[in-house]
Amino acid sequence: MNDPQYASVAVGDHVPAREPLPPEHGHDRYALDVRDLWAGYPGQPPAIEGVDLRVPVGELVGLIGPNGAGKSTLFKAILGLIRPQRGEVLAFGRHIEKARDDIAYMPQVEEVDWDFPVSVMDVVLMGRYHGFRPFRRWSAADRSAASDALERVHLSEFAARQVGRLSGGQRRRVLMARAIARGARLLLLDEPFAGLDAAVQHDLVAILDELAQGGTSVLLATHDLTCVANSCDEAVCLNGRLIAAGRPADVLTPEILAETFQRHLLTIPGVHGGVIEVGAADGAPRES
């Protein structure tokens, strides 16, 4: 079931549906506004082509697409970790470089060096970093913010533990605490649920939901379509280029999913009250 080739989820998954956004929610204001973004790696064709994407303030946006669809490349290009070939990225109406203090990024879990000898507290304090000041140590305010963030993800008792000695779910929560300690208004999460069981994922979604209620905007890449269907305000389908974006019920249709994932067989409980099967054999999606 964890085979990322198949973007499907265990039946009986209990990730809760989010409360609908209030009618007065400002959908017109964007935490992230990506326009015509092209990016890739030297000597290769672009991994993403002409992507337009918006994350409204206070919304959870789920980014889905098969392996190699360019999700991680998109994140890196948004953040300037690789130089985009073309396009523009604005965060809260400013150029991304000028909005760094408002952004937290959670890379894929294997990009972090879990064996490095840092404690949970050390990692959360990294969220408080705001520019080079030689010989500077963390202030009491930084420590207090980090403690509060750890409390929010229920990891206070592990503050002194080396991060490598935590479980997969706890590691994700530490990175989440770091993002909270940063006070970031926009979170970019690259596959935060990969390899986690449903209960741990439930806890993480609950934390994200709470943050979004408080006005934080979230863009998360995931292979978990049920999570996007139940817990995200918007869904974005990517496969090199943008296939579709909008409310999950409008986007997670058999046709769009077939176009996004091409030949893979998908089984998604629930979006339209039944089970959608995208047949690999005849390529003809049907809803039952």
Binding site: E111, V112, F116, V123, Y129
Partner: protein
């Protein structure tokens, strides 16, 4: 006992040896923590061996040998950083090639000279008892530079080592710091080069930090304990050398290795206690 400890230091060369080992221990303990935990042990060895090219150029041209070593080590550090980013072969293969190329260049240049070259041999095998006042001053200056850099940029180095992507997102020039870390190791190698020698210098970066890492699990404590292990090994090795009439640098390295084995014993004993099954009913 006190006489046994203090007698050797009646000699100025022994006092200089102790002082230079103090500098090497502090620098090695601090830099070694990064070397061990970023998997840079092989890079450290490559940097040490590459200095032979610089030593050889300086030796043949009559320049300052330590400056030559420093130049070669820094060039190699930048080369390692570059190959890590761009090479289409695996990282350790790229380092292996750089390592033997620089070492061969050194041997090639030296092969044109004939006759016995005692100064050169002291760089290859180390000569703690032959450390001059100028060598000591050079080690102190370079060592202070490394320690100042680590103290000034401690948070940045930690962040980049743990999570370079989020570090870059937070505005830290991650690539620059990754190069800086390699240059820092290059300088640390040169600090210890004259005393310990090309062949064994990497041991002073690896063994104390590795020993400390078996016992403690946060970077600052690993650094402090690593310094302690290096100091104890240095004093033990120096006395073994003085009273046993053996070469000092291998004696120091062996003393450090003994500390490592001791720490390994402690952790194995601890682990056995933790995972012991409940007593049979």
């Amino acid at each position: 006992m006190v006489d046994w400890l203090l007698d050797p230091y009646d000699f100025a060369f022994m006092r200089r040896a102790l002082l230079v080992l103090l500098v090497i221990s502090v620098v090695g303990g601090v830099v070694g923590a990064y070397v061990v935990h970023k998997g840079l042990a092989f890079s450290g060895d490559a940097l040490a061996h590459s200095t032979l090219a610089g030593v050889a150029v300086a030796f043949v041209s009559g320049g300052n040998v330590s400056v030559g070593a420093l130049g070669a080590a820094v060039v190699t550090a930048l080369g390692i950083g570059w190959t890590r980013e761009r090479a289409r072969v695996s990282y350790d293969t790229a380092i292996g090639i750089l390592f033997v190329a620089m070492f061969s260049l050194g041997i090639l240049i030296l092969s044109r000279r004939t006759g016995y070259t005692p100064d050169l041999m002291s760089f290859v095998f180390g000569n703690i008892l032959g450390v001059s006042r100028a060598d000591l001053v050079g080690a102190v200056v370079l060592g202070a530079g490394v320690l100042l850099f680590v103290a000034a940029a401690y948070r940045e180095l930690l962040f980049v080592a743990y999570d370079p992507a989020m570090a870059a997102t937070s505005g830290i020039p991650s690539r620059l710091y990754q190069y800086a870390m390699l240059v820092m190791i290059a300088v640390a190698v040169v600090v210890a080069l004259k005393a310990i020698g090309i062949v064994l210098v990497n041991a002073m970066l690896i063994i104390p930090a590795a020993t400390a890492s078996l016992l403690v699990h946060r970077l600052p404590t690993i650094m402090l304990l690593g310094i302690g292990v290096a100091l104890v090994s240095s004093v033990v090795g120096l006395h073994l050398s003085y009273y046993g009439r053996v070469a000092a640098s291998p004696a120091i390295v062996l003393a450090a290795a003994a500390c490592f084995i001791g720490a390994l014993g402690v952790t194995s004993w601890r682990a056995r206690r933790i995972v012991a099954p409940p007593p049979a009913r």
